[in-house]
Structure formats: structure tokens, C-alpha cells
């Protein structure tokens, strides 16, 4: 499974989306369940899936799927595999 697929599966589970709803340009404003508790779940899931801990500032600062990918890329996670 590619890292992109892992991220997609993770965010589909965190925010209880239909897989078809997922897009790499999804933003926080488009997802009702991306609230403060969603931020907590997302941070837990990212640590479980990619082994990278998000600080509270990073987690709350994320506004889109692209932001998550950028944070993970900066830590060496490759998405264009």
C-alpha cells in the first residue's frame, strides 16, 4: 500500500467519510467531523500509521489534506511513490 493510500484510509476512518468523498484537496471546512475532537483523532491516527507525532500546534494548524501531506513530507514520508 502506498503512503497516499494509507493516508486516504486513515482520514476516511478518522472523519467517517465515504472513500469516494476523499480528495487530496479536501479542506477542513468541507468536513463536519473535522472539529476539535477530529483533530485529536487525526493526530492519534497519524502517529499510529506513520509513526510521527504531531504537536498540538501542528495538529490544530492543519487546514487541509495537503497540509498533512506537507508536514509528513517534511519528515521524510514520500507520497509520490
Amino acid at each position: 500500500m502506498t503512503n497516499y493510500e494509507k493516508l486516504k484510509n486513515l482520514l476516511v476512518d478518522v472523519f467517517l467519510l465515504e472513500p469516494s468523498e476523499f480528495r487530496p484537496d479536501l479542506t477542513r471546512n468541507e468536513i463536519d467531523s473535522w472539529d476539535s475532537l477530529g483533530v485529536v483523532s487525526m493526530a492519534v491516527g497519524i502517529e499510529e500509521t506513520f509513526g510521527h507525532h504531531l504537536t498540538p500546534e501542528e495538529a490544530t494548524g492543519v487546514k487541509s489534506v495537503q497540509d498533512i501531506m506537507n508536514i509528513l513530507r517534511a519528515r521524510g514520508v514520500v507520497f509520490d511513490d
Partner: protein, 309 residues
């Protein structure tokens, strides 16, 4: 966080409560009215005169209901909470869990925090053993879920590790020391949140009460039953459980043995179809979303195979 005053019975009887009244749960009504000097009111009945303090003796449901009722109908009246059973810790927290449209709603407001909580050890002997054990399960659920919560601070984890060490030394039975444990565990979970056990308990309590009336379903019993399956999932699917437990020098296997002791396979089998039917609601529950492990749709299979095991 502000804490309620902690009184014993003598403190209560000597306190200047002004004009006080009493709400008492049916199970302890005669016990309470024979020992307390306050006039007994029917819960939620309209106030007919001045009242400065309301003394409430009962379980978490009655104490939480009193918090919300006072907030709405008699703000400024002091709430004196006397738990008749341990588990909820409602007497020590600014949280109220109330039923609304067949759902459990969690409300938090600093005004919900009782003015004082009264520890009355004699009440421990009035609790049926099955309810006492379920209350122990509720205490364990609060302590473990707060300890593992992604919102727990390192300082809180140290407090909870000490608390759980004390809990391991207590019998899962009528022992009045659980009153204090319960208040402490609840005060901790009010800071860090809880997890999947509470997500399941909040989601299933009302459907189970409707579908299986007379089987005695309640919050504490659901917590006690789901402790072992949920903590097994957390432990199997994430290394965090063992890492944290080892870091705080807690005996992980001894804890799991306690949780297994509280497990009731027959009740679990009765609850399982409802868990499957309401799984998506469980996933969306605010408590589930602060579980130590990210709870995913596929994790339902763990509970289904747990039953078979």
C-alpha cells in the same frame, strides 16, 4: 480545577446550609430520611419557597440531574452531593451526563460542580454486590481511559498511575474506600476525557434498556462488561498501552486480570448485536474520539471475535 469541599457526615450535619432540602434516590430514601434532618422533596418538583442548599443522595444519574436542574431552575442554590454508590464520580466533577431524546448528552459547566461532596462509608453496605462490582468497573474505566487518553498530561498520568496502584489493592466488592477512589478517578477524567468504553456505554445504554427491559442495563454495568474487550483491543492494536504501563511501573497483566474478573460473558453476548447495530454511532461518540487508539470501522470485528473467544 476547583474541587468541591469534602465532608464527612458530621461536617454535613454541622454545616450552615441555610434553608435546605433533600432529594434521595428510592434505594436509600428511608436510610437517608432517618438520619438527615432536611425535608424530603420529590426530585424536580417546583420550588415553593426559599432554598439555599439542596442535599442530594443517590447515584450519578440523580446527582447529574440535580446539577442541571439547579442550573436551570435555582441558580445559586448550593448542591451537596452524597454518592450512594461509587463509579460515576458525579459528586466530584463539573460534568453532567443527561438523557435527551433517547441519547446521552455530556454537558460541562463549572457551575455543575457541587459545593461539597459527602463521604458516608456506611452507605457502602447498602449496595448490592453486582452493583458494587459494576461501580468498580466504572472507576477502572475512568482511570484507565484518562490515563491512556491522548489529552492526558504527564503529571496527570503520574496521578492516575498512583491511583490505579491503590485500586489494585482493593476488592471488587463492597468496600467504602471506593468512594474516594471514584471521586479521584472522575476528577482526573474530567481533565483528560475518556475513551471507547464510555463511547460504547453512552451509545448502548438507552437502546439496551428499551430492547431488554428488566435486565438491569446501566452505565456502570456496561463499563464493567466492556472494560476487558476494549482494553484488549487498545493493547493489541497499539503499543501505547504497554509502553505507558511499563513507563509508570504498573503491573499490566494484573490490571488485565482485574478487567477479566469484571467481564460477564452472558451479558456481553446480549449486548453484542446492539454494538454492531450502533457501531457507527459509537465511532462518532465524543468519548470514542479521545480513545488512546484510533477506533476504526474494522475494529467491530475485534468485539465479534472476542465473544467467540
Amino acid at each position: 480545577m476547583t474541587k468541591p469541599l469534602v465532608w464527612d457526615l458530621a461536617d454535613l450535619l454541622n454545616a450552615d446550609l441555610g434553608k435546605a432540602a433533600l432529594w434521595a434516590a428510592p434505594s436509600v430514601r428511608s436510610f437517608a430520611t432517618s438520619r438527615l434532618p432536611y425535608p424530603l422533596l420529590e426530585p424536580f418538583s417546583p420550588l415553593t419557597g426559599e432554598m439555599n442548599s439542596l442535599v442530594v443522595i443517590g447515584g450519578g444519574t440523580l446527582i447529574d440531574a440535580a446539577k442541571v436542574w439547579l442550573h436551570e431552575h435555582a441558580p445559586g442554590v448550593r448542591l451537596i452531593a452524597i454518592p450512594s454508590i461509587w463509579g460515576s464520580g458525579a459528586e466530584a466533577s463539573p460534568i453532567a451526563v443527561v438523557n435527551q431524546d433517547d441519547q446521552k448528552i455530556i454537558c460541562k459547566d463549572q457551575s455543575y460542580l457541587p459545593h461539597a461532596r459527602v463521604v458516608w462509608p456506611e452507605l457502602a453496605h447498602s449496595i448490592p454486590l453486582d452493583k458494587a462490582r459494576a461501580g468498580c468497573g466504572d472507576c477502572w474505566a475512568h482511570a484507565l481511559e484518562a490515563f491512556l487518553s491522548p489529552l492526558a498530561t504527564a503529571e496527570l498520568q503520574v496521578q492516575l498511575a498512583e491511583l490505579m496502584t491503590a485500586m489494585l489493592a482493593l476488592p471488587l466488592a463492597n468496600d467504602s474506600r471506593w468512594f474516594e477512589i471514584s471521586a479521584a478517578a472522575c476528577a482526573c477524567q474530567a481533565q483528560a476525557g475518556v475513551g471507547l468504553i464510555h463511547g460504547i456505554a453512552h451509545t448502548l445504554e438507552i437502546p439496551l434498556r428499551i430492547a431488554q427491559a428488566g435486565m438491569g442495563w446501566g452505565h456502570a454495568r456496561l463499563c464493567a462488561i466492556f472494560l476487558w474487550p476494549v482494553m484488549s483491543l487498545n493493547r493489541i492494536a497499539s503499543g501505547k498501552w504497554d509502553t505507558l504501563v511499563a513507563h509508570h511501573h504498573l503491573p499490566g497483566d494484573a490490571i488485565m486480570t482485574v478487567l477479566q474478573d469484571l467481564f460477564d460473558a452472558e451479558s456481553y453476548r446480549h449486548a453484542l448485536p446492539h454494538l454492531a447495530a450502533h457501531w457507527e454511532t459509537v465511532l462518532r461518540d465524543p468519548c470514542t474520539r479521545t480513545n488512546s487508539l484510533l477506533v476504526r470501522p474494522r475494529h467491530l470485528a475485534h468485539f465479534e471475535t472476542f465473544a467467540a473467544a
